[in-house]
């Protein structure tokens, strides 16, 4: 019976080139962080915060509502597009493919301009159709362009996910005599959405980052407010604070989404 275990001495980690370089780079990051914190602390101005602090918060609100609304509307629109992409009818498939390719192949900024300035050219026709209240407003135009854009991306995510569900699932439902619609909504879609979870999370983060372009068409989202404050004060802090807020939002979302994914896929863990 042993009471004393002789442990091997800990291996000394040598100071390799990689270790030295790594420590230097981490030190540089730390210095940058400290420098940034110091700058923001010394430049802190209670008057400016009083005057502009609420603007930033309302900007965050605008970003969230705009992105949230577009994501939900895009999700609804993406379902028929994804189904069309899965269709065996070549015309339906071709139209859906052209839509997806066009919206994924052009910059979001160009799409927003096309809607806001381009459709503004047809104001008379839009007034006659009773749609002018919608396309007159920059927020609605941003919402419209974002919805079409994210629907194209979400349709591809959904299509890939639906195709990843094994054919046996369709065949099993068929052999039980279930109608196709029931099979799709109760059996295929729930399994597909699990596969689509991670790409959906990425799409949400991409949309939050991409939504900054609406600031160019005068929507005061987080970036728009930062731009406005910078134009009034010429204080560079405005952009730094916006950057910090975007980083916090994106990182929080990523952590929340990871937790959600872990919870929803807990039956798949081995």
């Amino acid at each position: 019976m042993r009471t004393h275990v002789e442990k091997p001495p800990p291996v000394a980690r040598p100071w390799t080139g990689a270790r030295i370089a790594g420590n230097i780079v981490v030190a540089l990051w730390a210095l940058t962080g400290i420098g940034l914190a110091w700058y923001l602390a010394t430049a802190w101005n209670a008057e400016l915060v009083d005057k502009y602090g609420m603007r930033f918060l309302s900007g965050v609100g605008t970003t969230f509502t705009l992105v949230g609304a577009s994501l939900v509307a895009g999700a609804l629109l993406s379902l028929p597009v994804a189904l069309a992409r899965l269709s065996k009818n070549r015309l339906v498939n071709g139209v859906a493919y052209a839509y997806v390719y066009a919206f994924r192949g052009t910059p979001l900024l160009a799409q927003v301009f096309l809607v806001y300035y381009g459709l503004g050219q047809f104001s008379d026709a839009l007034k006659a159709a009773g749609l002018w209240w919608f396309f007159r407003d920059a927020w609605y135009c941003g919402f419209f362009a974002f919805t079409l854009n994210t629907a194209a991306y979400q349709a591809e995510i959904l299509r890939g996910a639906i195709q990843s569900v094994p054919r046996g699932q369709w065949e099993g439902a068929q052999s039980l005599g279930l109608p196709r619609a029931v099979t799709f909504f109760r059996i295929i879609l729930p399994q597909a959405l699990i596969v689509a979870l991670r790409p959906y999370g990425n799409e949400i983060i991409l949309m939050i980052k991409g939504s900054a372009v609406v600031a160019i068409i005068t929507v005061y989202d987080l970036f728009g407010q930062a731009r406005w404050v910078f134009s009034k004060t010429f204080d560079f802090q405005a952009y730094l604070w916006a950057g910090i807020m975007y980083l916090i939002i994106v990182e929080t979302l990523r952590i929340l989404w990871d937790a959600l994914e872990a919870r929803l896929t807990r039956h798949l863990k081995r």
């Binding site: 990689a18 981490v26 381009g118 050219q121 950057g243």
Partner: protein, 236 residues
């Protein structure tokens, strides 16, 4: 139809030559950004797959920051921040001159940094797909670390990472449109000017979208050829 052709003609009346110059600027910006992004991305990936924890931490901080910031904000931070920084430094040194940064260079660095943070993830997953035996085989025949990397690992790495990098190139091509906001005369800015002058906004922004689509189509075809070429040596 004749109106459209007149608007797009090359000459003092039409906008064809301006748009063509815009296409050149867009392509040039994307091509100049690519080597910066690939190089930084490769080294960040190298750091992130290193056995040294501090290097991994440094690489992860880099990706977290530049993948989390909106591209447009990164561009503004580089464009205004570097300008303010340089001018403050010049003032500190007692020089009265002020420097203005070129929007092309600012765009190149901002987009390069964003590209590299995404590329580092692509490279990292490609690194993980290469078995350890490839390195060990390299060392066993007496190759140094650098030569193993260059002769054994890199050729496989490029083949595995290429589909991901192709996607990033298409994203980069679209992101160049953001640099028009700080005044670069790329496709989008030239079409904006044209639409303001001619009051044909829908037509010109539509043309801008078509030009970007054409660039995506052409580079997509080129990338597929490159991908096929890298797959010569593999059997299916």
């Amino acid at each position: 139809m004749t109106d459209a052709l007149a608007l797009l003609s090359f000459g003092p009346e039409g906008w064809g030559d301006e748009l063509a110059r815009g296409v050149l600027v867009t392509v040039a910006l994307a091509l100049c950004t690519l080597p910066i992004g690939l190089t930084i991305g490769f080294f960040v990936a190298l750091a992130k797959q290193s056995e040294e924890p501090s290097l991994r931490l440094a690489g992860n901080i880099y990706t977290t920051i530049f993948r989390g910031l909106p591209e447009l904000l990164t561009l503004f931070l580089v464009y205004f921040g570097v300008q303010i920084g340089i001018n403050a430094l010049l003032k500190l040194l007692g020089s009265g001159t002020t420097v203005e940064i070129n929007s092309f260079v600012a765009g190149m660095f901002a987009l390069g940094v964003v590209f590299s943070s995404y590329a580092s993830e692509t490279f990292l997953s490609a690194f993980r797909a290469i078995p350890k035996g490839q390195y060990e085989g390299g060392y066993a025949v007496g190759l140094s670390y650098g030569m193993t990397m260059r002769l054994v690992v890199l050729p496989q790495l490029i083949r595995i990472a290429l589909p991901g990098l192709s996607n990033l190139w298409l994203v980069l091509l679209k992101d160049t449109a953001l640099v028009s906001v700080v005044g670069l005369s790329d496709i989008l800015r030239q079409t904006s000017i044209a639409s303001r002058v001619t009051k044909e906004a829908f037509f010109f922004y539509g043309i801008a979208c078509l030009l970007y689509l054409a660039l995506a189509l052409v580079s997509g075809a080129a990338l597929r050829r490159i991908e096929l070429r890298t797959e010569r040596g593999t059997s299916r």
